[in-house]
């Protein structure tokens, strides 16, 4: 299996939208979204497109590399649990923002240098529905 990542560069319009979201998030203490923020995101973010995405690479990245803090089964470690149950009630947009920009003051780094917006969106959506296992 080829595990060399080929990540697309983030698209600027979507980045701007996510930044708006981050700003909104910071106004509330723990990443809850205000209706206006969601509107802003919906206006700027097209549906996650599949180009340049390799789901098996991303699955491996999440299970193995995110897993070094969140646990391979995503049940938590130094990082918080990322199971479907643990993330219940979180919006995909806020997860995407956390992935791309990290959470300042915590150990969660910004992944925007390694992941495109579409890839972060794909990961958020999969996390919320229960993240897939790696196929061998």
């Amino acid at each position: 299996m080829d595990t060399g990542y080929s990540f697309a560069r983030p698209k600027q319009s979507r980045l701007t939208a996510i930044k708006v979201l981050i700003t909104c998030n910071r106004e509330r203490s723990h990443m809850r979204i205000q209706p206006l923020c969601i509107l802003a995101v919906l206006a700027f973010v097209p549906n996650a497109n599949a180009e340049n995405l390799s789901p098996s690479d991303l699955t491996r990245l999440v299970r193995q590399d995110c897993g070094s803090c969140h646990g391979m089964r995503l049940t938590g470690g130094l990082g918080t649990p990322l199971t479907r149950e643990a993330l219940a009630g979180r919006s995909p947009e806020s997860l995407t923002a956390t992935i791309l920009y990290g959470r300042p003051g915590t150990t969660m780094p910004a992944w925007k240098s390694l992941l495109s917006v579409a890839q972060a969106e794909w990961i958020s959506a999969r996390l919320l529905e229960g993240f897939p296992e790696e196929s061998r």
Partner: protein
Amino acid sequence: MRSLAYLVFCVLLALLLGACTASLPIRGTGDLGLVIERADGAVTLVNTSVKAPYGRVDGLGDLSHASVVYSRDARYAYVFGRDGGLSKIDLLESRLVKRVMQSGNAIGGSISQDGRIVVAQNYTPGGIKAFDAESLELLSEVPAEYAPGKFSKVVGLADAPGNRFAYALFDGGEIWVSDFSNPQSPTTRKFPAGKNPYDGLITPDGRYYLAGLFGEDGIAKLDLWQLEKGSSKILENYGRGEEKLPVFKMPHLRGWSLAAGRVWLPAVGRHEVLVADARTWKEVSRVQVKGQPVFAMASPDGRQVWVNFAHPDNGWVQVIDTLTGQVIKTLQPGKAILHMEFTTRGEAVWISARDDNRVVIVDTRSFEQIGGFEVNAPSGIFFTARSARIGF
């Protein structure tokens, strides 16, 4: 009648002989060890003399971030799993002896100076738990309650002489030293560490406990010979004024960092290994390396320090010569290098390449690959030489 008795005798003799041939040859465990298969909840048992696996034990639960300590006689391995499982494995009989679920989320463990107490460090519920090394029965626990009702994740647990254990509280920002002279009722002393200690180590002589800090630049230091002097900080502000890179994987510390009279420590969020004098604790130099270091491991003779790196530079390994403080070799042993372990006297280093599903064995003089074998998603490699070391 006599022929019947003779027949019974023969059958018994045959059974006895069969039992003898099936039993194990007498052997030591000094050249044995194991490799964690993080995705399969299994360990591959290995022999470093023949450079090959000889057995496998599975059914050990979630082994992502698993670590291992060895019994005093180096026959039994205690495997600490992410899911709070503690498994005792017999290296000679290649079997699981006992397994207990001791917490909800664990990160590692240690074994006491006298070999009778195995201690696990836990994230959930935050604290440490002590077990009888023979039976794995719970002896006592120390909840990491750093403020009323607030429990911290525990990191950097290491054994210290006197059946004591030193560890750091990630959320509490403290170093605790628990004395298990009476295993049923440990006593604990607490010292300030700094913001978010992420791991710790004890120097090979058992004297100093060092805790690396994530929330600030610096290392907390505690002299275990003179606890009354309290903790202090070294390498403070090593990155002052510079922007930290995002940290995709937390560095790891263990008692391998002392070499050539200096400590060699991974810098957090920087492509550097920090070097401090082990007597004055002042910064001596920094070594520029390929990425953010995860492990900086000194060879047993202290002549080399081998460094691996966080994602996305985890395909590289670099070797620092401790005499000159220069990188003398850059290797690409495989995809996603997670761990390295030196053989007891350091002629070779075993390297786990997770995404190649392979353990690679490299000669430490020629840097040539001298062996290797397939293992599914290998992570930690642990040899029995650890059983004789302080701080493990």
